[in-house]
Amino acid sequence: MSFNRRDFIKTLASTSVVFPMVVRASPSAGKARVVVVGGGFGGATAAKYLKIADPGLDVTLVERNKQFVSCPLSNEVISGHGKYEGLLAGYEGLVKRGVRVIFDDALAVDPAGKAVKLKGGTTLGYDFLVLSPGIDFNFAAIEGYSEALANTTHPHAYKAGAQTLALKKQVESMKDGDVFLLSVPPGPFRCPPGPYERASQIASYFKHHGKSKCKILIADANDSFSKKGLFEQAWKMHYPGMIEWVAGASGGKVVKFDAKSNTASSDFNDFKGAVVNIIPPHHAGLIAMNTGLTNDKGWCTVDMLTMESTKQKDIFVVGDSTIHGDLPVYGAPKSAHMANTQAKVAVANILAKINGQPAPEPFFVNTCYSIAEKDWGFSVVHIYRAKDGKLVYDTKAGGISPVNLPDEAALKLQRKLESEYCIGWFKNIMADAFA
């Protein structure tokens, strides 16, 4: 053992002394039951921080899968720059913290009776519910595409898992000169820069595997995209002529797909590819829709400052299924970091309610890294604060990484640092949710 165990024990001992400000649970708080549905970045973080805030709380997490597969860094797995195993996490860490983890499918919520019904037959009563169901896909929006195709010949790979590996295999089977067609749905979708990072990563795979004549065609339903200047700069520098982007206004919005001829069509264009990767439009996870928490566009509306559903009391919704705020373009972005920060705000509000305290002032932060090529990363930062009872994006802070820097050395340094910070961020945010 290369560690000095005694040092660690010493540190542990001192740790318990230097935290005088732990919230002490009121006697009733110990009995409060909180159910968390969905064990992704939002739900797992909420379950963990509920237990940290008050170990006496009765916290149950309901999750479908025994293993979590992260979407962040899954594009790097498709390109071969990252390993699939690195995307995985289990729920043992939460169990050790005293969270009761139930692997089951949450079927329905009864907001009036304050209970969640599970497929296995159990009904869980709750005082507070944290719903973090992520997204589900609207396959019907693209005629000819389907869940069956996604699970077999045409993975979307926009929920990481078996489809990530299936798409990786397809990319690897491409011949030099082939076209990879990527269809981007109308916003909002999870991970706003995700499709463009995917295009970059696949270009990187082509470049480094003797397939430089391959092309990537992005058929986009939208007229702009996240970190556009940074991506376009990276594409020009690292993959000149390889990636073509067709905006929605230029007929990029795919509405039809023919699997036999591998042709995706908009109202104006037919796009063909050796591999066609269709990311279908999303909406909030089905359980949120079935519980009546969504608006007419299929997203959960929440109190911007507390994350409590505007439709049902004592249900807090966090993560990708929410439309968080009325900020441009689609409210706060759907990212792992946003889910993490929203979960912490929801926890603070649940604790305040249990202990009869006023709602705490929220603080939301988002950091989202993309890696366009080895040693070439960049980010966007958002800071949101409460102002006059509303969530406000601080336009003086945040923003994207600088596109231009004083010289080449500074540019390379900036991109190198952020490509490495991306990996460090990932390890810490995974631990913040699951360890």
Binding site: M1, S2, F3, N4, D7, F8, T11, L12, S14, T15, S16, V18, F19, P20, M21, V22, Y49, I52, A53, K96, N340, T341, K344, A348, L351, P360, P362, F363, V365, T367, S379, V381, I383, R385, D394, K396, A397, G398, G399, S401, L405, P406, A409, A410, L413, Q414, K416, L417, E418, E420, Y421, I423, G424, F426, K427, N428, I429, A431, D432, A435
Partner: protein
């Protein structure tokens, strides 16, 4: 890799046992730092520094310098322009009071010896093994993540980005290219 996993498991075990402060606005702010810097400021991602237990004055300086742009940062400046000076000051105090956890990262004996030799100029301010800084404005660097330390040295060695500490910049630039990683690994391997 196995060794790295052992390190992570130990850091994780520490996080698990540590109670966390959760009440009040500074704690609410501090909790959001965990996402990148680890629970209670102890990082498990080698490119991200642990921030717990660093000297208060040092933390206050860098936080404010990032905010003003006086010190180059790839990401942090964009965060801190969204905080008031008072909040940053309180965060610095908060993290300085958490225990410093050296994450000792073993390295090859030859690399450590080479690193030690190259740190002659560092000793006056950081102490022989990085754990006994000369004053409250100088960070502890023993058991800090090697990758992070190496990347910080890269900043100091790049002329075209703004770094405020003349002496540190001068000494960082005096290092031979091939010694930079060794210096980082030397300090990372020190328990104290």
């Amino acid at each position: 890799m196995k060794r790295f996993n052992t390190i992570l498991a130990t850091v994780a075990a520490l996080g698990l046992s540590a109670a966390s402060a959760m009440a009040g606005p500074t704690e609410d702010l501090a909790r959001s730092c965990n996402a990148c810097h680890g629970l209670n400021g102890v990082s498990v991602g080698p490119s991200m520094p642990s921030i717990a237990g660093l000297p208060e004055k040092y933390l206050k300086n860098v936080l404010l310098q990032w905010k003003s742009g006086e010190r180059y940062s790839a990401t942090m400046g964009r965060h801190f322009t969204g905080y008031t000076d008072e909040e940053l000051s309180k965060l610095a105090t908060y993290f300085s009071k958490l225990p410093y956890v050296a994450v000792v990262q073993p390295a090859d004996d030859k690399v450590i010896a080479r690193g030690k030799e190259a740190t002659e100029r560092c000793e006056t301010c950081h102490g022989a093994t990085g754990g006994a800084p000369d004053d409250d404005e100088t960070p502890k660097i023993n058991g800090q993540w090697a990758q992070y330390l190496e990347m910080e040295l890269m900043k100091y060695r790049t002329d075209s980005v703004k770094m405020p500490h003349k002496k540190m910049r001068g000494n960082a630039k005096k290092l031979a290219d091939e010694d930079v990683a060794a210096v980082a690994k030397f300090y990372a391997a020190q328990p104290k």
